[in-house]
Symmetry: C2
Subunit: 228 residues, 2 copies
DNA sequence: GACTGTGAAAGGGTTCACAGCT
DNA sequence: AGCTGTGAACCCTTTCACAGTC
């Protein structure tokens, strides 16, 4: 995954609780996913070791990470699946529905709009935009595609929390500027280019080509290992 | 960024050159992208500061990272765009075409197959698989969709380097097992579940829901900042 | 006995600051 | 003068090991 989020100074904002390290924040959703998978299992509790196994990290890591949230486990027993799930959700701000807009109704944009993983995780796609007049007015996954000309007004009217950019690289910075101008403070960028945003706005980058290029590097190393 | 790649021990394999830190490897593709964007510019060279600006990192970081590759810059001048591009490509193993298979011809799989960013970056989609008989035989982006039953044989016959998993979560582990069994050593997993692979196989995870959940956390923090 | 929570130690990664080249 | 390359300092993250609790 590509990513950059908080300036160190943004973190210092947290006054009350222990600050949660970035690295931990990035893993909490992983634990959440593992907990949901485990929700149907026989026992209502889970040890750090079992959770670690499911999430693909070490048990010590789990315990350390969860300790930043508070003491939600029981010594000698483990963690209550349902309770821990609720606590992590709360800490991630997932206890209220988050409203998502997708900008760019190309293949990827449409794929994301139809992606089932959003709705059952508390996200709702409330707007889809495209600059192509032929696409404007069509319906994708129960949502009408709007013109990018109307972005500014519609973004605030529909109270969008997160904007997902799936336009070509050339349009990405412009889209980000408009979106930020409309008050959106969180952006997920799939366009293969660097996008800059003002202080206080969070942006994460996902570049499919980059993921493949990183794999390419380690492929070579593996070959070398085989050759030794 | 979702991801896990090399056990620490895998790194120790490198005998000849200075080992390149993981964090640096993950940034090299970023520099590559920035260099390509700068390729059309007036000057044939670029300072670490200019490159940093384009890639969204600090100049010191650029210099440190590039120093792991060798001394490819010129003091007082900067880096030659074309030469540096070539060197990074070589180090990432991108000087030969890499052959990609996509498993799962749903919305996301099709979007990826059609994604232009692959071909112009040296990747070639040579196979697409799906378990749905209705999809098998159809053509997506000039490639015939094959049955997942034929994966094992086709993966080796077509010399696939990297497998991309875009199936539902329930099928992901099975797909990974088959793919690894066929000799593929690099996997990019989009299924929202943890997949385990044997030592020596590289896997990276991209989970769209997780990216949104991470953004959700920092959204809260930003609100807190505004409130202070 | 089993398992969590956490200080302390170890390990990586980033930033600094400047020596060294052109 | 301008900019790279790099040891050293700093900071963040992970791992260890064990005290604390059920």
């Amino acid at each position: 995954m590509g990513s950059e989020v908080p300036r160190p100074c943004t973190m210092r904002v947290m006054l009350r609780a222990r600050a949660i390290p970035q690295a931990t924040v990035a893993r909490l959703p992983l634990y959440l996913r593992a907990l949901r998978e485990a929700a149907g299992s026989a026992t209502p509790t889970l040890s750090s070791e079992e959770l670690a196994e499911r999430a693909g990290v070490t048990a010590a890591q789990i315990r350390k990470d969860l300790s930043y949230l508070g003491s939600y486990g029981t010594r000698g027993i483990g963690y209550d699946i349902e309770y821990l799930t609720k606590q992590i959700c709360r800490r991630l701000g997932l206890d209220e529905e988050l409203r998502v807009a997708i900008v760019g109704a190309g293949n990827l944009g449409v794929a994301l709009a139809r992606y089932g993983g959003f709705s059952n995780r508390g996200f709702r796609v409330v707007a889809i935009f495209d600059s192509d007049p032929a696409k404007v007015g069509t319906t994708v996954a129960d949502t009408k595609v709007s013109s990018t000309k109307d972005m500014s007004s519609l973004l605030s009217k529909r109270r969008v929390d997160i904007a997902v950019i799936t336009t070509p690289a050339a349009a990405a910075q412009w889209v980000a500027d408009v979106v930020v101008g409309a008050g959106v403070q969180s952006i997920l960028n799939f366009a293969p280019t660097t996008v800059s945003v003002p202080e206080g706005v969070s942006i994460r980058h996902v570049d499919l080509g980059i993921e493949l290029e990183i794999l390419s590097f380690y492929r070579r190393r593996v070959d070398a290992a085989a050759a030794v």
